[in-house]
Structure formats: structure tokens, C-alpha cells
Symmetry: C2
Subunit: 172 residues, 2 copies
DNA sequence: TATTGTTATACTCTATAACTATA
DNA sequence: TATAGTTATAGAGTATAACAATA
């Protein structure tokens, strides 16, 4: 009885501890990257993610496609695109075949700028994760895969509607 | 030559992939918890974290101590405390020995409410992490420990000043 | 002077809802 | 009607800076 209870209690504690550490790690890494993006490129993660989507689609993306990929509402995409267009990194081109839509594309300046940022960004990530060896990275990647799959399923069947969260799947 | 390059390239890709999956997992879990806290208790993570700090300190905490522990500025603590005090969960008591300061404490209603939330919160976390067995949780916890230590060191010596990020170390 | 806390203001990222132009 | 995108507004969470009261 006592053993069972304490085992359960330990597992509870274990899940909570793991979650808090996971959150703490992610927050720290994200903070470093956010700060460096701002300090060195005067940009934000949301803008970086939008550029990353466009970099993979030379023919351009509609606003609605960006909205889906970034998992944010259309209004937000409008705002981010406005900023990036004002900076000359992005252009709303006419969409062939649908006069309601745009084909949002990187400008050549935007492409150069994104590539510069992506290179440095990758170096930061490598540096930040250099505490782990290749096998450890593989191991964590696999564990997170299991977690992600389960959490996605839980979120999908949850009573509360799924909320939009950033995708950040850019360079994946 | 080719081998070396491709190995490096793979490791680069590996770190980036790992980071994106880590971010994706954390964002999803955090989203679920945030939505449920809002749907079931009409509260936020920041308020929950503040209550968690107070729950561990029956004698109360100064605003400045809350600011340090939550790693946010004093102005934010003022705002959160205002909200929680308006909800009757928290009280600014006179601080014995320093008339500039308060001893912020849970009210008995706040304590009951926090315990209710903390119980359910823990159940959510256990559910969300149930895809991993005890050994897997231990393994991930250890890996994240290495990562955290390294990232903290990197952040500390980074050129850009460390920015405030939520602590969320409450029930740890 | 230095510290504690508040107020005022602003920025980023996000959301919803009402609207326009086109399909 | 339905869809693509914009505008207007709001809210959470965060920051900085100027200020009052006290140490």
C-alpha cells in the first residue's frame, strides 16, 4: 500500500518536474535566440518564421497559406507582412488567377537577409545544444517525438478548442 | 572530405531539428495548460505561477521577491497582484520592519483555490506526459539537465543582456 | 542616496469581429 | 453566398522611465 502510493506520488512528481524543466529549457533557449535576433538583426521570431516560410516557396504564398503555416490568424499575417514589406524584405505581388489574393514573395534583399539570419541562427542553435552529443540528441529527439504525438492527440480531443500556436517548423 | 562535411551538416541539421521539435512540444503542452487554466479557472499561467510562489511561503513575500522569483519586472508584479487581490486570492499585508514593503500572502480562499488548481494542473501534466514511461521521463529529465546548465551558462555570458523570462519553477 | 513599489506608457504577439473586394 | 484580405479593437504579457514614500 505504502509502496504503491509512494510510487504513484513519485511518478506524479516526476511528470511535473520534467515538465518544468522542459519549459525552463525551452524558455531559456527561446529567450537567447529572441534576444540575439533583436540585437543583431532587429527582428522577431514571428517575422523570422514568416521569412522562413517564404524562402522555401519562391513562387510565393497567399496570406491565407501563411496564416495556416504559421498557425496564426490572418489579421496577424497582415500585420507581420506590413512590417516586412515596409522593411523591403517582402513583396505582395498580384496573384495570377485570383484577384482577391496576393502571392507574397521574398524580395532579393529579403532573400539575402534571411539567408544571413538563418546561417547565424543555425550556429546559435548548434552552440546552444552543444552540451548534448549526437546520440543524446537523437535520444531526446525520439523521446520528444513520442511526447509530441501524444500531446497533439490530447489537444485535438480536448474540450477546449485548439488554439493557434506558432509553428516555427521553418527550417525543419 | 565529403564524409566530414556531411557529418557536420548532419549534426547541424540534427541540432536544428531537435530545437524545433523541443519548441513545438513545449508550445503545445503550454497551450493545452493555458487553455485549460482559462477555461476551467479563468486564470493565466502568470497568475498561477505567482500563487504557486506564495503557497510555499506562508509568511508572505515582498513584491521585489516575487519579481525576482518570477523573473519579471516589478511593474508586472504590481499588475498581477492587483488582479489577484481584486479576486480575493491574495492580500498585501503590512511588512513588519519595512514600511515601504508589503508581505504579499495568500488569503485562505486563495490557498484553497490554488490547491484546487494545482491538483488539476498536476493531473493534466501527468496525462500529457503519459506517453513516456518512468525510465523515459528520467532519461529526458537528465538530458534536459545537461542542456539547461549549458544554455544558462551561454545566456549568462552572452553579449546581449539577459532578459527576464518566466521562472515557472513553482511546484518543482 | 538607495530601495520599494506604483503609475504611465509602449511594444509584441495574439485574438475576434466587422468590413471590402472578388469569386 | 463564400473566400481573401484588411481594419479596428482588445487582451495578455512584457518592458522602460518617472515618481512617491521610506530606509
Amino acid at each position: 500500500m505504502r509502496d504503491l502510493e509512494s510510487r504513484v506520488s513519485d511518478e506524479h512528481h516526476q511528470a511535473l518536474k520534467l515538465w518544468l524543466r522542459l519549459l525552463s529549457c525551452t524558455t531559456r533557449v527561446e529567450g537567447v535566440i529572441r534576444n540575439r535576433l533583436r540585437a543583431q538583426f532587429e527582428t522577431s521570431l514571428a517575422r523570422f518564421d514568416l521569412l522562413a516560410q517564404l524562402e522555401r516557396e519562391p513562387q510565393g504564398l497567399r496570406m491565407s497559406e501563411l496564416s495556416q503555416r504559421l498557425m496564426v490568424t490572418g489579421a496577424n499575417v497582415t500585420g507581420l507582412t506590413d512590417q516586412l514589406e515596409a522593411e523591403g524584405l517582402v513583396r505582395r505581388a498580384a496573384h495570377p488567377g485570383d484577384r482577391r489574393a496576393f502571392a507574397v514573395r521574398l524580395t532579393s534583399r529579403g532573400r539575402r537577409q534571411f539567408r544571413r539570419m538563418a546561417t547565424v541562427h543555425e550556429e546559435w542553435v548548434i552552440e546552444l545544444f552543444s552540451a548534448l552529443g549526437a546520440k543524446q540528441k537523437d535520444s531526446m529527439y525520439a523521446l520528444l517525438g513520442d511526447l509530441k504525438q501524444h500531446v497533439t492527440a490530447v489537444d485535438g480531443r480536448a474540450p477546449s478548442r485548439r488554439k493557434a500556436n506558432r509553428a516555427k517548423e521553418h527550417a525543419a
